[in-house]
Symmetry: C2
Subunit: 226 residues, 2 copies
């Protein structure tokens, strides 16, 4: 890996860990092993280097999301796989983190990759939800755009909860809760097989929207008991 590359990668790490304000050129140089001169030879300054790092992080994060969202399985299954994917919850989201940084959001060039990432991700999930609706896997009453926004928010908020609690479990709990809510809108046949899924679905019920069978075992989709 050449110097330029090491500078970008080190900046990506530092932006992830400490944000833009918390990341100094000196720290970047130390982590990358590059000198003052090298850094300013390859980049015009901190914002320029940060732009390269942010753009790459956004692209990589998008690629990792697409690996799950574009993978095999039904739309709802792929969404669940994405949400549950192994994440370093305590480290937070390398892209979402930047949204909290006023200096990043104040600079249109630095901000663009962040905005685009979330626009893409929300749209991608909305498309999958719509696909699931069309195929009959999901309740046609679902609003794809709003549901997608809620799911993306759960992921981002899950990171907040995990960091606040000092435990990655808080992330898993939030995602589990959201998936349980979502999967209640899926056809029983489309739900994952492993958990003891016997929840009565509206379509499985004879009639009457209020007929909530009070079965205590009717818990949708849980990863671990609690």
């Amino acid at each position: 890996m050449d110097t330029r590359e090491r500078l970008i990668e080190s900046t990506r790490e530092l932006l992830w860990e400490r944000g833009y304000v918390g990341t100094s050129p000196k720290a970047i140089q130390e982590r990358s092993g590059a000198g003052q001169g090298s850094m300013y030879h390859h980049f015009h300054g901190k914002p320029d280097l940060a732009l390269a790092a942010i753009a790459r992080s956004a692209e990589e994060t998008r690629g990792r999301a697409e690996a799950e969202l574009g993978g095999p399985g039904s739309p709802a299954g792929r969404i669940a796989a994405y949400l549950r994917r192994e994440r370093e919850a305590l480290r937070g989201c390398p892209v979402g983190r930047l949204s909290q940084d006023p200096d990043v959001m104040a600079d249109p060039r630095l901000r663009a990759p962040v905005e685009e990432y979330f626009t893409w991700l929300t749209g991608r999930l909305a498309g999958l939800l719509d696909e699931g609706r069309a195929s009959g896997e999901l309740d046609p009453g679902l609003d794809p755009a709003a549901t997608a926004a809620a799911l993306v928010a759960v992921v981002q908020g899950g990171y907040v909860l995990a960091r606040a609690a000092g435990s990655a479990e808080a992330y898993a709990r939030a995602v589990d809760g959201a998936l349980a809510l979502l999967m209640a809108h899926a056809r029983p046949s489309a739900r994952p097989a492993h958990p003891p899924v016997r929840t009565a679905h509206p379509s499985a019920r004879p009639a009457g929207p209020s007929a909530r069978p009070a079965g205590p075992s009717a818990r949708p989709l849980r990863k671990e008991g609690r």
Copy 2:
């Protein structure tokens, strides 16, 4: 308001806007109108002043939440009121923001109020959900702890989406999506009479590729038969 008080309030604002790393004693002094000497007379240094500010922000934020959560109405109704409460979505959460700050989370004293706030809030919501289950308002199949975590995450993630999009509407959309999922687990009689969850903001959200079918907007969130 005396000098000590102005120092705390100015620090609260700055922590909210710029985070801990982004907040310098100098900026605090300028905003509060206090001099160097005053600040170090009333507080031992930046961490000490930050602690006072963080503790107060956590307490105040909790109080504002309790105002909705402990208000009138059914459990689900109070939760909906809390989630939809007018928020300055673009400013983010004064408490949640701190969870992204490594220097805050690294200091147990600064971190404690943040952790406690989220523990309390999640527990409070879980209690309400449980109450709703017991009263028959909510589906007994709901997992209160996981659902509560998901809802808190939606709020926190909603702030991220709003900031990323540069629009408070993104927050509203995420909350709407989450409430729609939740309310599908409520007895119809317990659901809001007026149309689903849609905030009355001046600018209507752009109808995505997946605008809802032209059915009556007042129809139940969850389809009854299929």
